[in-house]
């Protein structure tokens, strides 16, 4: 079923991790219901959106939109400025060899 049918394709939010809109909405519910929280770092861990090769360059804004909407619907106080997950280096995928090369390690 690789190429799929002609119609009824999924709506992809995060291309790198292959996450659909449905899955994003489900992940929000799971987060609120089982962890009792709604914050960007937890949302990214539960949905795994923004954690792929491009590091959220395409999907982060959608994730923030679902998060804001979900919080609004539940009446959770919402501060847009706080919907940014923590960034970690490297900002883009790099070859592992960059760091395990012995020449690089000695100092």
């Amino acid at each position: 079923m690789s190429e799929g049918g002609s119609r009824g394709h999924p709506a992809i939010v995060c291309r790198c991790m292959d996450i659909t809109e449905e899955e994003m909405l489900m992940a929000f519910k799971v987060m609120v219901r089982f962890l009792g929280t709604a914050d960007p770092d937890t949302y990214r861990r539960i949905s795994s959106a923004t954690t792929g090769y491009c590091q959220g360059r395409g999907c982060l804004q959608h994730m923030q939109r679902y998060l804001a909407r979900g919080m609004r619907e539940l009446g959770i106080s919402l501060d847009m400025d706080r919907l940014v997950p923590k960034k970690r280096p490297p900002l883009q995928p790099v070859p592992m060899g960059l760091f395990y090369n012995p020449e690089v390690l000695e100092e």
């Binding site: 992809i12 491009c54 395409g58 804004q61 959608h62 883009q92 592992m96």
Partner: protein, 475 residues
């Protein structure tokens, strides 16, 4: 029409078959030119995928090249005899190269390190180096110029920002000027990937060729973040089918490489970018089926939109996309009309046959580096989304770190250049250079920006900037 000098013809090998290419092309451009639009399969669902951004940001073009896995083919230049292959789902295999890698390490020191060689970064480099600063400009793309390299139309604006010149000519002129200066290093194919807060230095990695990398540690007295913006995506069924791409990606294929990304595309978004790309597509002999936009009124300058209306391209306002369909690639799109509250109007759905869907639904500032630095960030829709707080001299809340161009606020090339000037002068001053005349020059540039933005067309930008501009700093 512009002529393309595509350089010497060469041959590369794609999945075991020879493919013709030209030496000035990237691997992705060469494949697209030969009709390849599927670049691999997605990790989980095994769906066919193709490039979305063409500027090294989206990671949808990764392939195995000469045995090296996960190569971003859209920013990798082709070489004669290169072997390019699909990867079976990027996660299905360990990302180990089948060949040796060569890794070097360099420690560098500059007065000013500039991230991004678009109009903002290049202008900043000119100013700072003119004041005697030792300047490094890094860009992840193999050619400097940022978004300007794909803009073939003449620019509006004023004399100070080179009105009447074409975008790529401006890029070339700025780069040529910098090349003559001994105190400037322009480093292409170099990505900034990290920031060490305690010592205030940057980590970057440069691709010197396939499998040849240099890890850089850059110490600089000041840093300018001129990383531009990323095209927005849109969520609808079939939005990942090969053939759905950013309008800027289509523009790169057409204007940088002289390649037709589609024969009959649908363009979503009737702002300036959407209509300019539609116009350029028609000039390239492409039949644009329609430009649709969910808003009531097009945000584009009237000259642009009336031009494409005259060419017979329908601009359908209050229309949006329901889904893209097709087997393995885009073959059509269902669009529908909305009412005043953006609710679908019953019975308005129509299918149109298209072989491309180009998204021109806005840009988002690329501020990843500033997020790493933990600079103060605020959500300001008027400026394109999350943007850094800044003083009048464009210094962020991290001392010595400046921002300029689309990364500070989605605007246009002329303002990006002027902001680059401000940041360039301020960064050199931070490094202890310059004098009264430079303070004056910076004030003039700030005044130019204020006057430019005083037109009613830029009311939203003004309101947005009011929310993020801090007291203090040179003004």
């Amino acid at each position: 029409m512009l002529k393309f000098d595509r350089g010497r013809p060469i041959v590369i090998n794609f999945n075991g078959k020879p493919v013709k290419a030209f030496e000035t092309e990237t691997v992705a451009a060469a494949l697209y030119a030969s009709g390849v639009i599927k670049f691999g399969y997605s990790a989980e669902r095994h769906r066919p995928r193709g490039p979305f951004c063409m500027i090294g940001k989206c990671s949808q073009c990764l392939m195995r090249v000469n045995g090296y896995p996960h190569v971003r083919t859209c920013i990798t230049p082709v070489e004669d005899g290169m072997v390019v292959e699909y990867e079976e789902g990027h996660d299905a295999e360990l990302p180990l190269p089948t060949k040796e890698m060569l890794v070097k390490r360099e420690d560098l020191e500059y007065d000013a390190a500039i991230i991004g060689a678009g109009p903002a970064g290049l202008s900043a480099a000119l100013e700072a180096s003119g004041m005697g600063a030792r300047v490094l400009v890094m860009d992840q793309s193999p050619v400097p110029g940022g978004q300007l390299v794909k803009q073939t139309h003449k620019f509006f604006g004023t004399k100070e920002t080179f009105a009447g010149m074409r975008g790529f000519e401006i890029a070339k002129m700025l780069t040529d000027k910098l090349r003559d200066r001994e105190n400037v290093d322009v480093m292409p194919s170099t990505q900034v990937i990290g920031y060490f807060r305690r010592e205030g230095s940057l980590a970057a990695f440069r691709t010197d060729g396939l499998g040849k990398y240099t890890l850089l540690r850059i110490r600089a007295k000041s840093i300018i973040v001129a990383t531009g913006a990323m095209e927005r995506s849109l969520v609808f069924p079939g939005n990942d089918l090969p053939g759905v791409m950013g309008a800027g990606a289509a523009q790169t294929l057409m204007n940088v490489f002289g390649i037709r990304p589609a024969d009959e595309p649908l363009i979503i978004g009737a702002g300036n970018v959407g209509v300019i790309v539609a116009y350029q597509a028609v000039q390239a002999g492409i039949k644009v089926k329609a430009v649709i936009d969910i808003a009531k009124k097009s945000a584009a300058y009237l000259v642009h939109s009336s031009k494409i209306r005259r060419m017979g391209i329908p601009i359908l306002m209050r229309h949006t996309i329901r889904e893209a369909y097709g087997k393995g690639r885009v073959e059509g799109a269902t669009i529908y009309k909305v009412d005043d509250n953006f609710h679908p109007i019953k019975g308005s759905e129509v299918d149109i046959e298209v072989d491309g869907v180009w998204l021109a639904v806005g840009l988002t500032p690329s501020i990843e580096v500033l997020e790493l630095m933990e600079a103060g960030i605020k959500f300001v829709p008027e400026l394109g989304g999350y943007v850094p707080l800044r003083h009048r001299n464009l210094e962020t809340t991290v001392p010595g770190v400046f921002v300029a161009g689309d990364a500070s606020c989605i605007e246009e090339a002329s303002t990006a250049m002027m902001e680059g000037r401000v940041a360039g002068i301020a960064a050199a001053m931070k490094a202890g250079l310059g004098g009264d005349e430079h303070v004056k020059r910076m004030k003039e540039a700030i005044k130019w920006l204020d006057e430019f933005r005083s037109s009613p067309h830029y009311r939203r930008i003004r309101e947005g900037l009011f929310k993020v501009t801090l007291e203090g700093g040179a003004s």
